[in-house]
C-alpha cells in the first residue's frame, strides 16, 4: 500500500513514464488486492453500520413502523435527559473502579508469573482461564452464587459467622456494585496480565542487572526501570480496559437487571432500554453516536498521556 501514492497519475508526467512504472502500478494493485478482504470486513461490519446508526439517529425510528426524519431533535432531547447523564456518570464510576482493580491485579499477577520457574505455566493457565468464559455465562454463574436463598456467598458468610441473618447482597447498591466489579476483575484480570507480562518480558535483563550493580533497591528498580519500560503495553491495556468498561452491559443486565432501584444502569444498558424496551431506535442510535464520540475522546487523551516522550 505504501506504493500507491507514488502511482498517482496526476503526479507522473504524461508521455514520459518513469522506469519500472508498470511494475510499481502492478504492485499497487496487488497491495489493494491483499488488503481487500480486511477492507471489505471493515466496510461491511463497521463503516456501513456506523453510517446506518448516524442516519437512524436523525430519525424518529420506532422498532416497528415507519421512520420519520426529525433532524437533530434526538440530540437536543439528549441534553435534557437526566437519566442518560446519570447512566453515564455511573458508567464512569464503574470504569474507574474496574480499571484500577483490573490493571492493579493484572500487574501483580504479571509480576508473579513473568519469569519462568517451577509450575509457572500452571499459574498462568489458572489466571487466564476465566477469560475464556463468556461474560454472559460468568454473570449467570455469579448471579447464582450471589443468590441469597440458593447461592453460596450468603450461606457461607452465615456459616463463618460473619453475618447473623441471610444478607441479600444484590439488594443494596454498595455490595451489589462491588460484587459485580469483583466478578469482572476475576474474569478479566488474566487477559491484561498477558499483555503486561509480554511487556515485562521484553525488558532486557541487562538493565535490571546494571541497576542492581549500581545498588538500586527492588522498589527503585521497579519504579525507575520496569514501570517506564512497560509504558506501551500498559497504554494498550489501559485503553482496552477503559473502552471495555465504558461499554459494560451484560454483567449489570444479567446479575442486577440495573437494580437496586435502577442505580446500576450503564450507558449501554440505557441505550438498550431506549432501543429495545421503549422501542425508540432513533434515539438509541443518537445515544450510541454520542457514546462513540466520548470513547474516541477518552482514547485520544489516554494515548496522549502515555505517549513516549522520545517520540514527541
Amino acid at each position: 500500500m505504501t506504493n500507491t501514492t507514488e502511482i498517482d497519475p496526476a503526479a507522473t508526467p504524461a508521455g514520459k513514464p518513469p522506469p519500472r512504472r508498470r511494475r510499481r502500478r502492478g504492485s499497487g494493485w496487488e497491495g489493494l488486492i491483499y488488503v481487500l478482504p480486511a477492507a471489505a470486513l471493515v466496510i461491511v461490519f463497521f463503516m456501513i453500520p456506523l453510517g446506518m446508526t448516524i442516519w437512524m439517529s436523525l430519525h424518529k425510528w420506532p422498532l416497528m413502523g415507519k421512520p420519520r426524519w426529525i433532524g437533530l431533535d434526538n440530540y437536543s432531547r439528549m441534553l435534557g435527559d437526566r437519566d442518560f447523564w446519570g447512566a453515564l456518570g455511573f458508567t464512569a464510576q464503574y470504569t474507574l473502579a474496574a480499571t484500577v482493580g483490573l490493571l492493579g491485579v493484572a500487574l501483580i499477577l504479571a509480576l508473579m508469573v513473568e519469569r519462568p520457574s517451577r509450575g509457572v505455566a500452571l499459574y498462568r493457565t489458572a489466571y487466564f482461564l476465566p477469560v475464556v468464559t463468556g461474560f454472559a455465562s460468568a454473570s449467570l454463574l455469579w448471579a447464582w452464587l450471589s443468590n441469597v436463598d440458593s447461592g453460596l456467598f450468603s450461606p457461607l458468610a452465615q456459616m463463618l459467622g460473619l453475618t447473623a441473618q441471610p444478607v441479600n447482597i444484590l439488594a443494596t447498591f454498595g455490595p451489589a456494585f462491588w460484587s459485580v466489579t469483583i466478578m469482572v476483575v476475576w474474569k478479566m484480570a488474566g487477559f491484561y496480565m498477558v499483555i503486561l507480562m509480554s511487556g515485562l518480558q521484553s525488558i532486557p535483563t541487562d538493565y535490571i542487572e546494571a541497576a542492581r550493580i549500581d545498588g538500586a533497591k527492588a522498589h527503585q528498580r521497579f519504579r525507575y526501570i520496569t514501570l517506564p519500560l512497560v509504558r506501551r503495553p500498559f497504554a494498550l491495556a489501559l485503553i482496552l480496559c477503559v473502552s471495555g468498561s465504558m461499554l459494560a452491559f451484560d454483567q449489570f443486565y444479567i446479575i442486577l437487571s440495573g437494580g437496586p432501584q435502577n442505580r446500576t444502569v450503564t450507558a449501554v444498558y440505557y441505550i438498550f432500554n431506549e432501543s429495545f424496551v421503549s422501542f425508540r431506535l432513533g434515539y438509541g442510535s443518537a445515544l450510541s453516536v454520542v457514546l462513540l464520540a466520548i470513547l474516541m475522546v477518552l482514547s485520544a487523551i489516554q494515548l496522549r498521556l502515555l505517549r513516549d516522550r522520545r517520540e514527541s
Binding site: M64, V148, N168
Partner: protein, 415 residues
C-alpha cells in the same frame, strides 16, 4: 391381480401428490409462558399428518424485541402467539395480517373470548384471535398449612387471613417461609398485585389509561400488606431481587405457604410437581371481594406470510374440543365458550376456580404498557420494589410520588 396392483399404485401416487401439494409447514413462536401447552398442542396437530407447525419458544421478556428484529430482517415467523396486551401496538405498526376473513369464516366466532377479541381488533379489522387464557389466582400449600395447624381446605379470603396464614407458616422455621412474591418483576406484579387493589375498589389507571392513579388508599394498603410481611421476616430475602426467575419455582419447591400466581401454574405444578398438595383460590380484596388479571395470548399472523391455509388448519384444530382440552389440561384456560365445559370435564376443582377467575378478571390497557409496566427499569416495578422494602412510611410515599410522576410523564409523552 395386475390391475389391482396398478390401481393401488395409482391411488398411492394420488395421495402422495395431493399430500405434497396441500401439506405446508408454517413457523410459529410462543412466549415461554406457553411452554407447557403449546408443544403438546403442536405435537398433536403434527401427528394428524397434513399441515405441520414448527414451534419456537421465546423467553417472555425478549419476545417483542426478537419479533421486531426478525420482522425487520424479513425472517419473522408466519404466526405468533402474542401476549394480548401487545396486539394493538403490533397491529398499528403494520406488522400483522388482517385476518378478519379467516375469523368470520369460523362458525363459533361469537363464542371466543370477548376480552381477547376486543384488544385483537384494531380500526374495525381483526388482527388477533384468542389463543390461550390465563388468570391470576392465589395458591396455598396444604402440607405446610397442616404443619402450621391451619385448615388446609380453606384458603385466605381477605388480607388479614393472608397475613395470619403467612405468619403461621413462617413460624415453622426450617427454611420455610409464609409468603412469596417476585419483588423486582413488573410483569409478575401487574398480574398478581393489582388484583388486590381492584378487589378492594381501587385502580392504577383512570380515563382509558390516560391517567395514572397510584397514590390511592388502596395502593397504600396493599403495599402495607406486602411490606408488613417482609418486616415480619416471612418473605424469603431473595424476593427483593427476583426479576421473575423464581416467580413459579419458589412455590413449586414446597417451602412457601402462600403465593399469588396464575392459572398457568396449575398445569405446570400438576405435570412437574405431582406430589405438591396445594389449593387455588381467587385473589381477595382487603375486606373480602375478589378479582383477577385476565391475561393470555392472542394468535396473530405476520403480514408477509403465505401459509394462511396451514395456519387456519392449526387454529381450527386449536379451537376444536380436542385442542381446547389439550390447552386446559396443560395450564391454559379454554377460550371457546361453547366447548369449555367439555374441555374442562374431568379436571379437578382447582381448574374451575381459575376458570371463574377469568370471568371476574380485568385487563389494564395502555399503549405504553411495556414502558410503564413490563420494563425491568420502568416506573411500576421501581416504585413497588422501593415501597415493598421501604424502611419507613416516608420512603413509601416518596416511592409512590416518584412512580406517579414518571408514569404520567411517559403517558403524556406518548400522546
Amino acid at each position: 391381480m395386475k390391475i389391482t396392483t396398478l390401481t393401488g399404485a395409482l391411488i398411492l401416487a394420488a395421495i402422495g401428490v395431493s399430500g405434497a401439494a396441500k401439506a405446508d409447514t408454517f413457523t410459529m413462536w410462543v412466549r415461554s409462558d406457553g411452554s407447557e401447552f403449546m408443544p403438546k398442542l403442536v405435537e398433536a396437530f403434527n401427528a394428524k399428518g397434513g399441515d405441520q407447525a414448527e414451534l419456537q419458544i421465546v423467553p417472555v421478556n425478549e419476545l417483542v424485541q426478537k419479533y421486531a428484529i426478525a420482522a425487520a430482517g424479513g425472517s419473522a415467523p408466519d404466526a405468533l402467539s402474542l401476549d394480548l396486551i401487545y396486539t394493538p401496538a403490533f397491529a398499528s405498526s403494520g406488522q400483522l395480517k388482517d385476518i378478519t376473513e379467516l375469523a368470520k369464516s369460523l362458525p363459533y366466532l361469537d363464542q371466543l373470548s370477548p376480552a381477547h377479541l376486543s384488544v385483537g381488533t384494531f380500526e374495525g379489522k381483526i388482527y388477533g384471535l384468542p389463543f390461550s387464557a390465563d388468570a391470576s389466582v392465589l395458591l396455598w400449600n396444604k402440607d405446610l398449612y397442616r404443619k402450621a395447624g391451619l385448615d388446609p381446605e380453606k384458603g385466605p379470603t381477605n388480607w388479614a387471613e393472608i397475613r395470619e396464614a403467612a405468619a403461621a407458616v413462617g413460624a415453622l422455621g426450617d427454611n420455610t417461609y409464609g409468603f412469596y412474591f417476585s419483588g423486582n418483576c413488573g410483569g409478575c406484579n401487574i398480574f398478581t398485585f393489582t388484583p388486590l387493589i381492584w378487589a378492594s375498589g381501587g385502580d392504577i389507571f383512570a380515563d382509558d389509561g390516560n391517567k395514572a392513579t397510584l397514590d390511592t388508599p388502596e395502593m397504600h394498603a396493599a403495599i402495607d400488606l406486602y411490606r408488613g410481611m417482609v418486616k415480619d421476616g416471612v418473605v424469603p430475602p431473595g424476593a427483593q431481587t427476583d426479576t421473575g426467575a423464581n416467580f413459579f419455582a419458589a412455590f413449586a419447591n414446597g417451602n412457601i405457604g402462600v403465593t399469588p400466581s396464575g392459572s398457568f401454574a396449575i398445569g405446570a405444578l400438576n405435570n412437574q410437581y405431582p406430589d405438591l398438595d396445594y389449593g387455588v383460590t381467587l385473589l381477595p380484596g382487603q375486606d373480602g371481594g375478589v378479582s383477577s388479571f385476565a391475561g393470555g395470548d392472542n394468535f396473530v399472523v405476520s403480514e408477509g406470510t403465505d401459509k394462511i391455509d396451514a395456519i387456519k388448519a392449526f387454529l381450527e384444530f386449536a379451537y376444536s374440543v380436542e385442542g381446547q382440552t389439550i390447552l386446559s389440561h396443560n395450564g391454559s384456560l379454554p377460550v371457546r365458550a361453547d366447548v369449555a365445559e367439555a374441555a374442562l370435564a374431568g379436571l379437578d376443582a382447582r381448574y374451575l376456580v381459575s376458570a371463574k377467575a377469568m370471568t371476574v378478571g380485568r385487563t389494564p390497557f395502555s399503549i405504553v404498557f411495556n414502558d410503564l409496566i413490563n420494563s425491568s427499569n420502568g416506573p411500576w416495578v421501581t416504585m413497588l420494589n422501593r415501597a415493598f422494602f421501604a424502611k419507613d412510611d416516608a420512603e413509601v410515599q416518596q416511592a409512590i410520588d416518584d412512580g406517579q410522576e414518571e408514569m404520567q410523564s411517559i403517558i403524556d409523552a406518548a400522546r
